[in-house]
């Protein structure tokens, strides 16, 4: 046995089998074209020259010696900074199928080294818990067949829209109609909203593709989809375009981009769909937005009104506000006034055991146009792993609790609740969304699902990829590096967006038709839901089935 000192081993030394992904490379197929090493976002692989000793023994001559051969091949780096993230871009570009990452099925050691230089793990993506979630397990079990036959999803007319914005009580509406009072603005929108992902978090091509897709859904397909900007402003050409009506503008604690927005108000051709005030985010409750310096390009710096190449952390809270009451009074009212009381303004909060108190405050504020609650499974472009994995509250019971609270007050039609966080996490986007709608949400926001479905985001809950925070997105979805984001064709993203919403709309009909519903979105139709988990059934007030 050799002495320890002769082998280079330190506490953080790792081998291939310690990494979450192991590169499998077939030298017999490799053409040494170098595409894999060029495309790898982590520089996890490199082309290496190796020497192999070939012992040579000539028995007759009683001579011993060595021959050496050299060969080239792809090797994997084992440092944490260069650990393979399993994105498979190498496999995608290889002309000869010579290389691919293979998930390490053994326990891997990198879990213990995500804290190098004292810096805990930060990443993009969402809570790394895989497998069916609660929403996936909900069944629509109240099939209409006794006195009414189930409807025909292909033949009947379905009303799939929902209301965004404050709705008055019928009595107050009639009073104000008669007296010429203010009727709060509302929007009829598709209940699946593209959730807030900022211009900055997303690449320009991704943003353009989403917007093109949304415009196509509205203007050609007749599906009134809206999308939210996230914090970080909105490109001026959009602010002054007729497409602004499909955009929900978000204001968050960093107020990034709002100079541009406020200055553009006089030149706006139409009103935005709504204003979202972000107080919290499901992926990282109590944390502000974060755009790391890698992603603060010239364009982003201009949009946000900041210097290039600096970290842009938003404070965890709005600095001028000390309570939800104050924020409701100041911000909601101010934003409503800024847009002439013609645009719904609603807050976004992270799901929490205290969500109800926020809701009850909003109920009493005539300017509040709804409440968006974001659950623990929500995605983000950048956050601490511990925030993502362990902090927050699941969306289902939070929404249900808030809805039932409104029901008890008879206010469920007045403040629409929107739900977000993990919808479509396992691909069941319509099923997840409709389950939340029947639990009481007026609609849902989807972000990560859209990145995955419309742009091919590779991230998953086994921590594959999830490097959105580093600006090295191999698909060019969350990068500000032109070399990367040019990989993403906005036209193809737009095509996928329209395919996704066409399909959601058909699946909604396929869910609603057997339940005998087509006239209105089945908000709060909890009698249609069942779950084979007694505790969950009891907590959500739905039927236990087995």
């Amino acid at each position: 046995m050799v002495s320890a000192r002769s082998v280079s081993v330190g506490p953080s030394s790792l081998s291939y089998t310690d990494l979450p992904w192991i590169i499998q490379h077939r030298e017999d197929r490799c053409t040494l074209c170098g595409r894999c090493t060029a495309v790898c976002p982590k520089e996890a692989i490199y082309l290496a020259y190796r020497r192999q000793r070939m012992p040579k023994l000539d028995v007759l001559k009683k001579a011993r010696g060595n021959e050496y051969r050299t060969f080239v091949g792809i090797r994997q780096k084992t440092s944490m900074a260069n650990a393979c993230i399993g994105c498979s871009m190498c496999a995608m570009v290889c002309p000869n199928e010579a290389i691919m990452p293979v998930p390490n099925t053994n326990e891997h050691r990198t879990l213990f080294f995500h804290n190098q230089k004292g810096q805990p793990q930060t990443r993009g993506g969402r809570r790394n818990i895989s497998g069916p979630n609660l929403l996936d397990r909900i069944m629509f079990d109240r099939i209409s067949m006794l006195t009414d036959p189930a409807l025909d999803a292909g033949r009947h007319e379905f009303n799939l829209t929902t209301t965004l914005g404050r709705v008055l009580s019928p009595e107050e509406f009639l009073k104000r109609t008669a007296g010429g009072g203010w009727i709060p603005p509302t929007r009829e929108i598709f209940p699946f909203v593209i959730g807030s992902m900022s211009f900055g978090a997303l690449s320009p091509n991704m943003w353009l593709g989403l917007l093109q897709g949304v415009a196509y859904c509205n203007e050609v397909l007749g599906i009134p989809v809206v999308m939210c900007t996230g914090e970080g402003g909105c490109p001026p050409w959009i602010l002054k375009s007729p497409y602004l009506k499909y955009i929900v503008l978000q204001i968050a604690s960093g107020y990034f981009g709002w100079d541009e927005i406020i200055r553009a108000i006089p030149e706006m051709q139409c009103d935005p769909a709504a204003i979202e005030i972000k107080y919290g985010q499901g992926a990282k409750p109590g944390d502000g937005g974060l755009l790391m310096w890698f992603k603060v390009s010239k364009l982003i710096a201009r949009l946000r009104g900041v210097p290039e190449g600096v970290d842009l952390p938003s404070p965890p809270v709005h600095q001028t506000l000390y309570s939800i009451e104050e924020s409701v009074m100041k911000m909601i009212q101010t934003m409503s006034t800024a847009f002439g009381h013609k645009v719904p303004v609603y807050p976004k909060i992270s799901a929490s055991t205290s969500a109800k108190s926020v809701l009850n405050n909003l109920v009493r504020n005539p300017y509040a146009g709804g409440l968006l609650i974001d659950g623990i499974d929500g995605g983000t472009g950048a956050a601490y792993n511990v925030s993502m994995d362990a902090t927050g509250h699941p969306i289902a019971s939070s929404v249900r609790e808030c809805y039932l609270d409104l029901v008890a007050q008879g206010k469920q039609n007045e403040i629409p609740i929107f739900a977000a966080g993990g919808i479509g996490k396992n691909g069941n986007v319509t099923q997840n969304g409709m389950a939340l709608i029947m639990l009481g949400a007026s609609g849902v926001h989807i972000g990560k699902y859209i990145m995955q479905a419309a742009a091919g985001c590779l991230g998953n809950e086994k921590n594959r990829c999830n490097v959105c925070n580093l600006g090295i997105c191999p698909k060019g979805i969350t990068s500000q590096n032109p070399k990367l984001y040019r990989r993403l064709d906005p036209d193809l993203v737009a095509e996928r967006v329209s395919e996704v919403f066409m399909s959601i709309s058909t699946e909604m009909k396929k869910i609603m038709a057997p339940l005998g519903r087509c006239q209105s979105l089945p908000v709060g139709m909890s009698d249609a839901l069942g779950i084979s988990d007694k505790d969950a059934a009891e907590r959500l007030g739905i039927r236990y089935v087995c």
């Binding site: 009639l174 008879g410 039609n413 087509c518 006239q519 709060g524």
Partner: protein
């Protein structure tokens, strides 16, 4: 699916006529119940003052009967006439029917100082009080209505057999309006309170088909905390309550009912002269949008009768008749059985946008379309 029949005539007629019409439509029900509402009452042995309230229901025991008398006395009502049905109990499935009652009371003298709304509330509270009393005592007292000029009978079984059991063919009680519904909503438990027609403060409706939007509508109505919005043993009860809410709480004209339960589509509202108002009305009453039933047939205190279809209009209902007598039925054969001597060419099957009204004078039908201008006074 439930079968519905309503007949309205200037001359009082026997409810048995409507039961025979139910017999014509019997393929569609399963004998799980009958609900019968009579309005515009006429008694053979009693000269009835139509201002006086009629209490109808079933006492299931002598104790319940005594409690009923005590409560009515305590609330100051004086019994004026007690209509005793000639009953043949062997024809009734249930064995715990002590007494079917239909009793006319004089209002307490203290009511002289009350306005109309207060009296209406008091009558409703009395009904709810009796109902609650029955529920507290093992459901031994069932009260269907307490209202001037309205009587309701509900029972489990085949309609004609129930009519025979109560000898409704003896002409001792007749009415100008009779609403009948066969088959309970068996989606939920069989319960006397689950029989249509449903009644609240003079407003009655009955429905065929399943209202799949029941739970969200019920939840919203319960949130109004109006004492009469209770019960909900049937998913169809909400239609009566929505009509009540429209007319009595919002004080909107009858045209608004259809706009609330089945609003026009966006594209239609964009073209509508009062589209902005109607879109607003749709939004504020969004939780009252119905889904599923085919026909809602109703009658109002002024003896107007109405018929509306669900937006999908899966099974068209028919209205037919002539000057002085009209019939609504869920099936054409039902209209034919009630008024054979009419011109069937003039029968009308409403479309999704129509509200059919037979006004109290019963001269001709009124057909309102949602696409027509809405009464302007309400919008201004």
């Amino acid at each position: 699916m439930c079968r519905l029949a309503l007949k309205t005539a200037n001359e009082p007629f026997s409810p048995y006529e409507v039961l025979t019409a139910m017999e014509a439509m019997k393929e569609g029900y399963d004998g799980s119940g009958l609900g019968l509402l009579l309005r515009g009452l006429h008694f053979e042995n009693f000269r009835y003052n139509p201002q006086h309230p009629v209490l109808s229901g079933i006492a299931h025991s002598e104790a319940a009967w005594q409690r009923l008398n005590a409560i009515m006395e305590q609330r100051g009502y004086e019994l004026e006439y007690d209509h005793k049905f000639e009953t043949l109990p062997t024809l009734i499935e249930a064995k715990d029917r002590y007494r079917y009652f239909l009793r006319i009371y004089k209002m307490p003298t203290a009511f002289g100082a009350k306005n109309e709304a207060e009296i209406e509330d008091e009558l409703m509270f009395t009904r709810l009080c009796l109902r609650a009393n029955g529920e507290e005592n093992g459901n031994d007292l069932t009260v269907f209505s307490f209202w001037p000029d309205v009587a309701i009978i509900k029972e489990v079984g085949w309609p004609l057999e129930i009519g025979n059991a109560l000898t409704l063919h003896d002409n001792r009680i007749t009415s100008r309006i009779c609403m009948a519904q066969g088959r309970q909503n068996t989606n939920y438990g069989i319960n006397l309170y689950a029989c249509h027609p449903f009644f609240i403060q003079g407003i009655a409706t009955m429905t065929n088909g399943e209202n799949t939007a029941f739970v969200p509508i019920r939840d919203w109505l319960l949130g109004k905390h109006f004492p009469g919005y209770t019960g909900y043993q049937s998913d169809s009860e909400v239609f009566a309550h929505i009509l009540h809410y429209t007319l009595k709480q919002l004080k909107l004209p009858l045209q608004a009912y259809k706009h609330i339960i089945t609003p026009l589509k966006n594209a239609e509202l964009d073209q509508h002269p009062q589209g902005v108002f109607l879109k607003g009305l749709r939004d504020v009453c969004r939780r009252l949008i119905i889904d599923g039933p085919n026909a809602i047939i109703g009658s109002l205190p002024d003896e107007s009768c109405l018929l509306v279809m669900d937006q999908k209009k899966m099974r068209p209902s028919t209205v037919g008749g002539r000057d002085g007598v009209w019939a609504f039925a869920s099936e054409m054969c039902g209209v034919a059985a009630m008024i054979p001597d009419r011109d069937p060419a003039n029968d009308f099957q409403p479309m999704r946008e129509h509200t059919i009204i037979v006004p109290p004078d019963r001269k001709e039908l009124t057909i309102w379309s949602q696409l027509d201008p809405y009464p302007l006074a309400q919008v201004a």
